[in-house]
């Protein structure tokens, strides 16, 4: 069966520090991969998606970037965090067309 992992589960970072969140998927190959953010009291906002290694589409201009160095690995990064980057970050994968499957999420607090 397929499994999606995200780490860390929680993270507290100072403003201006770098960020690296990692997502890996097991049990499937060539998945579509997604990064979402849920800000406090808001819905899910699609940040990036990838249909293959090295292929990244950005949905919202921002302080973040994404990379896909391996088929089942998706990384969300920032060189300098802003207060507004705080939120709940979710990674998701899709293997077919029926649904997307979400990871457990990372709670990021920027102070």
């Amino acid at each position: 069966s397929q499994t999606i992992h995200q780490w860390p589960a929680t993270l507290v970072q100072p403003v201006g520090s770098p960020l690296s969140l990692e997502c890996t998927v097991e049990g499937t190959s060539n998945p579509n991969l997604y990064w979402y953010r849920q800000a406090a009291g808001r819905g899910l906002q699609l940040l990036f998606y990838s249909v293959g290694i090295g292929q990244i589409s950005s949905e919202v201009p921002q302080n973040l970037s994404a990379s896909r160095p391996q088929d089942r690995q998706f990384i969300l990064s920032s060189k300098k965090l802003l207060l507004s980057d705080s939120g709940f970050y979710l990674c998701a994968w899709a293997g077919g067309t029926d649904t997307q499957y979400f990871g457990p999420g990372t709670r990021l607090t920027v102070l």
């Binding site: 808001r42 819905g43 899910l44 906002q45 709940f88 899709a94 029926d98 997307q100 979400f102 999420g105």
Partner: protein
């Protein structure tokens, strides 16, 4: 521009009664719709979906209704149970299934004993 809207931020329902969650969309190209359930500090889990060629899909206690002319869908949960208390998101896609989803803001459902 919010293409998928859930206008009720919260809903409170008595245990055993029916819960009805609503969702409206503006993009007529959307042809596939999903509902997700989310507990605090967890990722959303898929509940049920419907294609635009149907107007109803049922799975156990969950039924989704689609009214294409009104650009409206709803999720019915009956009977409601305490474990149903969560945030519910509707999502829509215009790209051959769930490959690229647009989510609503979510509705917090509370089931009261």
């Amino acid at each position: 521009d919010q293409q998928v809207k859930q206008n009720s931020p919260s809903l409170s329902v008595q245990e055993g009664r029916i819960s009805i969650l609503n969702c409206d969309y503006t993009n007529s190209m959307f042809d596939y719709f999903l509902w997700y359930k989310k507990y605090p500090a967890e990722g959303p889990t898929f509940l049920i979906s419907i294609s635009s060629i149907k107007d109803k899909n049922e799975d156990g206690r969950f039924t989704v209704f689609l009214n294409k002319s009104a650009k409206h869908l709803s999720l019915h949960i009956v009977p409601s149970q305490p474990g149903d208390s969560a945030v519910y998101f509707c999502a829509a896609s215009a790209s051959a299934g769930a490959q690229k989803l647009v989510f609503g803001q979510g509705t917090r459902l509370t089931i009261n004993p």
